[in-house]
Symmetry: C3
Subunit: 351 residues, 3 copies
């Protein structure tokens, strides 16, 4: 998809500073810019790269004022980050243009395949499943009995959705995602653990993206719910009966134990762990590897295990690092007090 700098500027409502005829045939980060690439600079932390980049053009804000001469070509836009994201989406969506039903697939009797579907080979659709418009199901996926899939959904190769689960509109599920496996529920009985059947389901609302090999278990009863706009990274565990609130973002390898309720607009770092049955409010931020053993309100920035607010965490880390010095000071003071005591005993008590 080769375009000129001028054509791109026209597309994004930008203003060219430099040569509009230069050809662009790729995209890169500013520190990796090569000839023929378009890049962007949205954060002044990266400003020094703009003076040395080999990229053929750079998207920058309209208010950017160069402090040195610039050799590359600029396209000035209102929001450089949003603009590059839009361009990448355009390229990305051109790569997702599959259509039609491949052979072989297994489609149970009575399932209606919309005309505009992509159904990759070796995919399996169970009875009672319903599929929305403009759905792309890549090869080797499994759709269980009575599963509902909304419009504009993409399931990448190998996604597994167990029976009775629901996927909303505009969702993207990456390879290896498992939706609706049994929750981890067992009752002790005569020295063994007996399985408690998990007869609930999973509901994924609209505009949710789920990363590769993430697992979301079905509820024991009722539903495990991932609300609209949630973004889940890879290898995350969402246990049975959990609720994840709207627009919460969770990084890779985090885990949320059974029946925990996570509010909206939280940002959860990688490898965090949340205890079961707790309530987490809205607009919190959790540092990577945090452990959250109990309920949390709103608007906190928490870190560590057990998680405390980030200022306390930094203080704790510094205090612990300093403990050898603390111990040394304490020893010195003990010695000093002992000496004082000896002075007092030898002199004062003789008065």
């Amino acid at each position: 998809m080769e375009m000129t700098v001028g054509q791109i500027a026209a597309l994004v409502n930008g203003i060219v500073e430099g040569d509009s005829n230069v050809k662009i045939n790729g995209y890169s980060k500013i520190e990796e810019g090569k000839e023929g690439c378009l890049t962007f600079m949205a954060n002044t932390k990266y400003e020094h790269f703009i003076y040395e980049t080999q990229a053929s053009a750079v998207l920058v804000g309209k208010d950017f004022v160069a402090k040195q001469p610039i050799r590359t070509n600029l396209i000035r836009v209102d929001n450089a980050y949003a603009t590059i994201a839009m361009l990448l989406n355009m390229v990305g969506s051109m790569q997702q243009n599959r259509r039609g039903v491949e052979d072989p697939v297994y489609v149970s009797d009575g399932v209606n395949l919309p005309e505009d579907i992509y159904l990759g080979a070796f995919t399996y659709i169970s009875k009672g499943a319903t599929l929305g418009k403009n759905v792309k199901i890549y090869p080797q996926c499994y759709i269980g009995d009575n599963v509902k899939i909304g419009d504009n959904v993409i399931l990448y190769p190998g996604v597994k959705v167990y029976h009775d689960c629901c996927i909303g509109n505009n969702c993207i599920l990456h390879s290896g995602v498992v939706i609706g496996g049994d929750g981890f529920g067992f009752a002790p009985e005569n020295g063994e653990y007996k399985k408690i059947a998990q007869i609930g389901n999973v509901i994924i609302e609209d505009n949710v993206e789920i990363g590769a090999n993430t697992t979301i278990d079905r509820a024991t009863m009722g539903s495990t719910v991932v609300k609209k706009g949630v973004k889940l990274d890879n290898l995350i565990q969402i246990a049975h009966n959990v609720e994840v609130g709207e627009h919460t973002v969770i990084a890779a390898q985090a885990g949320i134990a059974g029946s925990a309720k996570i509010g909206s607009y939280n940002m959860i770092g990688g490898q965090c762990g949340f205890a079961g049955h707790i309530n987490v409010g809205d607009h919190n931020s959790f540092g990577a590897q945090s452990g959250i053993p109990k309920s949390v309100g709103d608007n906190n920035i928490l870190m560590g295990y057990p998680a405390v607010n980030q200022i306390d965490f930094a203080r704790q880390v510094a205090n612990v690092k300093n403990l050898s010095r603390t111990n040394a000071e304490l020893s010195a003071l003990k010695k000093q007090v002992k000496e004082l005591q000896e002075i007092i005993e030898s002199k004062i008590n003789n008065i």
Copy 2:
């Protein structure tokens, strides 16, 4: 599966208090009870819900004494939790009634398919594999050469079992489980790592359940063993030559490094990590995110990294939280001692 309260009571040997003719068509947790639902109350922590639930009936213990008027219908049983579990199992097993061999499957020459099998489309059975009675293998599974699968086993869509591994009776493996991948074994040689072939296998004994996307590696030599009654949650890593003892329960995202031996009846929290080559006894409990660097006896409750017993852990956490105050006290004391010293120097030494 609509039943009346009276029919359910008859099924579970219960006694109705209220209207036996009320119809039940679903199950719920007590805090989410809706009309038509049966729920249960097994823990007095949830007692307040029983006075306000919208559920049409509640399973309770025979010894439960209400402190307020109850509007819903009760079914009194010996053990409310065991009874609801039994009912859910009944419903759950009705959802797992698939039977027959779908098309296409790949079954190697010489493999005998039992008459009562369910073999989902796109599943692959390699040569030498043996399959027990009443086995359900969902679509897109892979069964390697010489794999042995016992009776009443369920493999959900996409399970992969490498060659020579054994799965006992009554096991349930969820989607994305990988049994028998190569152990992580390499020998340094001339500045590179050379693969050590992993020619052992994995043995899963009877009554084991394994959660979605969990991985259990084959032994270098000999066997990685998961003993009877073990329950593994999702995304767990069991490395080569590990042994997990009977009825041990492991929560999601925990990992056990190579050659560790874990005893029986342990309860292991989510995201725990066990070092390689250690021995863990029986009946221990490990808090979530614990790190266990060395061997452990029996009957401990351990937490933290490196894991210590829970009382010490709580004390350590409190002490660390308190360090700023400790430091302040130490500073104040230093100042005080300095003042005393000055008094002594100025007055006493002049005596």
Copy 3:
């Protein structure tokens, strides 16, 4: 593959001490040796087993001097560990002898299947993919558009490689590995998160092994790179635009956040987490469960969260354990100082 002790000795350039005619039909660790097994002793920590093993023969170093009588047969070699590894590789490679194209597979028009390929049933090859010599692709794999796969590569059942990614020569990818899923990139916009298309790819260089269910995300722009000789265990997360340097070894469930650059010859323990955008040098070692929030030089041994060098870590752990005693000492000292003060006040001030 039954051989005599003498035949094995000839194969490995070893010298027999004992009976060359004894038959070997299996391999074991020295502590698990049984009749008919060959085992090895490469570490004197295990020396006591050599005097009691039931194994029929033991590989030992030429310089090993027995301190007690030995009943088993010895095969003396230059390097017992390297020799057993070589023998296991021989056995292992005999188990990987599949060849030919099974039915059904899905191969897009224009894809050239090399003559010596193994292509398992239900595998899918997209258009533009290129496959090297002696490639084995097990059942149920997915190869995206324009994927390049080098020579002597093994993809175990269910590997998924998204479009435009490259796999070098001699790589082994285990079941459930996902290469090239979208990086986790979103831009906040009007209270929601908008997907940033991920249009880069993943490059896996030569001699890389990747464990089961590990995920490696494609770059936003440019490439996520795993350099030659890297060994990745199971369930690892490698985020978008990460680089992992040559011969770095990473244990299970570790995670590396976006754009982090990890150098060469690092050894990374299980469940470690690396922050995004940091630089890690060469030849470092990271203890299991470490959290690495910022850049690191070369040749460090680090542990804990936030990671510090192992000596400081041990000291911190000891100091924290000791805090109750520290607090008690501080209290005692306060009391002592108070008493001194009282003495001084009562006596001195009256002088």
